[in-house]
Amino acid sequence: MSQQLADVLVGTVVLASIYALVGIGIVILFRSTAVVNFAQGAFMVAGAYLFYWGLEDVGLSWPLALLLSMSAMAVFGALCYVTMFRRLVGFDPFILVIATLGLGVVIQTVVAVIWGSSVRIMPGVFSLAPIDLPGNLRITPSALFGVVAAVVLIAALDLSMLRTRVGVRMRAVADRTLLASFVGVNVHLVSASAWAISSVCAGVAGAAFALQHELNPLSINALGLVAFPAVLLGGMDSIRGALVGGLLMALIQNLVTTYIGGIWSDVSAYVVLLAILLVRPSGIFGSPTLARL
């Protein structure tokens, strides 16, 4: 395998794992609360800064800093539901979209006030030397961290959604919210959990991305928005779709970056977005009724 192709493949997997994390958060939230969170990028920024704060200012080791960031994001996500979106249940989808846009602006402002808006370098948690794998494949330890974090988190979510009562409750609320409340499911509790899980996913993705590149609120936020074309490619209401869509989008962007130029990477995602919307709005795995929302 040529070095260039090998790097494209590894880059695809690394970026795909970030998209998969963010995308699963988007899908879980959308399915159980009908909210499409345009603030996902801001949530990523918040998670990344919390991770940075734990590492740099509190002086924790990286597993503890990650745990701190995850728990803080879980609480924050649940609070977003309790203080904001609980009051907006049943509103027009476009009101919800605008609400999340506003929430995103608020989060970014708070982050900028606390930490400033300058770009920071994450503390060197992992060594910079790439790990060599067979077949010209090589991956930096921080990129590997992102992939492993995504796999672990997604596997844990998958198992708990299928096998635990909490998971069944979440799927029930996602299917039929009102019916779930008739059979004794605490809809508010389940929705708050969905917000918490979605925020944790975004936060971990943000932290992983910051480790691989730098702590730049603008680029992380932009990445959070590019996750939408990725999710849409797979289908807004499908977990499997979020994974496959993330992988495809990461492949497209890596190919574009390698063979056309890095500056075309984000815009290619939006071109794909418009193409999907014109051709097949429900995505690869989404249910066809979805686009009528």
Binding site: M84, V105, V106, F182, Y270, L273, L277
Partner: protein, 619 residues
């Protein structure tokens, strides 16, 4: 759900009183006069800074009105407005650089280009709705910004495109006062034009599309043409605002057109009130001036103080994020916006002055419902599971679904509630389970469960008290398996073994997703799921609907079985009176939201209320 839908079909708006219309016309005149006075003051004695800010207010107001056209009138979501402003601005910068590009030609070209782009975004919007349309416009935003960035780089204009100062005949438009005056005239003209367009047929067509696109299409509104018209028109207006922006700021640079910039226009029309032009204008004034106001507040605070210092050093971020805070605040606490709320407050004040006495007298005249009923022979209180006393249900704007209903479900019994489609049966059941706040339903009277009033509780709270409703539609979770359903509903997740004796059909289907079950199986599963919860009171909504007679019989036998075995009281809502009466101990007949007859099945069999008004018309 049928009952709810039937109510929604009734127009919510009250017929406008001639008195109200006269008042509204006066209010409009006062507003125009006030706006004219403010404009003249600004042009004559306004400071240069005030003029500078009002120029931006006017330009953004034009864009906000354009966006309000699309979102408020035609009900289409767009976050592509920053892109459209950019398109207008770049078009103007490029065209005004040519020999033929003298003012106002570039403005007109911008309007045409904006309209064409509007048509292009409008085409996918014919298929897409809500958030998909929002995503499409998000794509437009990023692609436009990217193209603009590439253009600046390729032409070497890294700091933005310069726009020459315009002139029109003898008028020197470089003079800010003159240009602002022209902006005022343009805005006034646009407002006049659009209010008149909205007042007549196009306004009504767009409103019908916004309220229900399917419905509008069904009554013959050419939805495609009018949706596209809204996209083209609103995009042209927004592009004109972009063109004026280019002339006003003299430089067009890609940094201006951020997603934040796009969101700030959404904020304008949300805080003003998405439904009106006055709302968009109010929003444009507030959002555009807020950063300047905040800035001057920060400058006046004593330096060195803790808060003043903090505000001063973060003023950039805070003015940037301010509209996020404003937006969230308004969505949560004043979702209809400022202008409608102010209008309502004004009407409320003047109405209060007039009818303060009348309303109070009316409230006292109403008898308390329980008193009237005490005389009837009724089971003693301990034997009653559910008692409805003077129950009323109102939805949203004030449509009344149910009025003054008294009903009793004794312990261990099966009670049927009969009535035609739209009689209010489902509303009675929903009043017992309670509504979520977003359903915008008001419950009056009392709902006594074991003697405790649960009226106004949420479904979550009542289901915890043991009330279980099997709804008419959407009664199972399509993606959950049968086993998941039972596990979900069972207290602590333990499903009683007897389930397999009562519902043998389900045992072979335990792993099947409910979405793949037949209608009869779904019904059976829904009842089984309710039974597993061991309810204190079981509410069944139209269980026989759409089932073959043999399946209906089987289902009714199951209901009798769980009623007798586990002594679960059942309130059964049915259109199929014959089936319901075959198992009920007592029945009520509902007609237009009121109880018109009640009695045991044998008493009711020949009751004219049932045979005439109800069974006679049903097949």
């Amino acid at each position: 759900m049928t009952d709810v839908l039937a109510i929604e079909a009734v127009p919510a708006a009250e017929p406008e009183q001639p008195v109200g219309r006269g008042r509204a016309r006066r209010a409009v005149l006062v507003l125009w006069a006030a706006a004219a006075v403010v404009c003249i003051l600004l042009l004559t004695v306004g400071s240069d800074f005030q003029l500078f800010v009002s120029g931006f207010v006017l330009i953004y107001a034009i864009a906000a009105i354009g966006l309000q056209w699309l979102m408020g009138r035609a009900g289409q979501v767009s976050i592509g407005n920053a892109a459209l402003i950019a398109i207008g601005a770049y078009t103007t910068a490029i065209v005004s650089d040519t020999s033929w590009g003298v003012f106002p030609v570039p403005v007109i070209v911008s309007a045409v280009v904006g309209g064409v782009v509007g048509l292009i975004i409008g085409l996918p919007a014919l298929r897409l709705r809500g958030l998909y349309l929002a995503l499409a416009t998000l794509g437009l935003h990023f692609i436009t910004v990217f193209a603009a960035d590439r253009y600046q780089r390729n032409t070497g204009e890294l700091f933005g495109l310069q726009v020459a100062s315009p002139s029109l005949g003898p008028l020197d438009l470089a003079d800010r006062r003159t240009f602002v005056a022209i902006l005022m005239v343009l805005l006034a003209g646009l407002v006049l034009l659009l209010t008149n367009v909205y007042r007549f047929m196009p306004g009504r067509l767009w409103s019908s599309i916004r309220e229900s696109e399917l419905g509008a299409g069904a009554v013959g509104v050419p939805t495609v043409r009018w949706k596209l018209a809204a996209f083209v028109g609103s995009s042209a207006v927004i592009a004109v605002a972009g063109s004026l922006y280019a002339y006003y700021s003299r430089v067009v640079s890609v940094e201006t057109f951020t997603l934040h910039f796009a969101i700030s226009f959404l904020v304008m029309i949300i805080i003003g009130g998405v439904g009106s032009i006055v709302g968009a204008l109010t929003g444009a004034i507030l959002v555009t001036t807020a950063p300047y106001v905040l800035d001057s507040v920060a400058n006046r605070l004593p330096a060195g103080g803790g808060f003043g210092d903090w505000l001063d050093s973060n003023i950039f971020h805070i003015t940037n994020g301010l509209y996020g805070v404003i937006l969230v605040f308004f969505l949560l606490y004043q979702p209809e916006g400022l202008v409608p709320a102010l209008g309502r407050a004004g009407r409320w004040l003047s109405d209060r002055r007039r009818h303060v006495g009348a309303a109070e007298a009316k409230a006292e005249a109403r008898p308390t419902p329980t008193e009237a009923r005490e005389t009837e022979a009724m089971p003693s209180r301990d034997d009653i599971v559910l008692e409805l006393a003077g129950l009323g249900v109102r939805y949203g704007g004030g449509a009344r679904a149910v009025d003054d209903i008294d009903l009793v479900v004794p312990r261990d019994s099966i009670v049927a509630l009969l009535g035609r489609n739209g009689a209010g049966k489902t509303s009675v059941l929903r009043a017992i389970t309670g509504f979520f706040r977003s359903e915008e339903a008001a419950v009056e009277g009392r709902v006594l469960l074991d003697g405790k009033d649960i009226a106004g509780a949420t479904p979550t709270a009542t289901s915890r008290r043991g009330v279980v409703l099997v709804p008419e539609r959407d009664k199972v979770f399509p993606s959950l398996s049968v086993a998941d359903h039972l596990r979900l509903a069972a207290p602590h997740g333990h499903v009683k073994e007897e389930i397999f004796d009562i519902f043998p059909r389900l045992t072979q289907r335990m792993k099947t997703p409910a979405g793949l079950l037949s209608g009869g199986e779904r019904q059976m599963l829904a009842v089984a799921m309710a039974w597993v919860r061991n309810p204190k009171l079981l509410l069944l909504d139209e269980v026989s609907l759409g089932l073959a007679p043999i399946l209906t019989r089987e289902l009714l036998d199951r209901i009798v079985e769980i009623n007798e075995r586990d002594r679960i009281p059942v309130l059964l809502v049915e259109q199929n009176a014959k089936a319901a009466l075959s198992i009920a101990h007592y029945a009520y007949v509902l007609e237009s939201g009121r109880v018109v007859a009640s009695g045991t099945p044998s008493e009711l069999e020949f009751d004219p209320a049932l045979t005439g008004a109800y069974l006679g018309t049903a097949p």
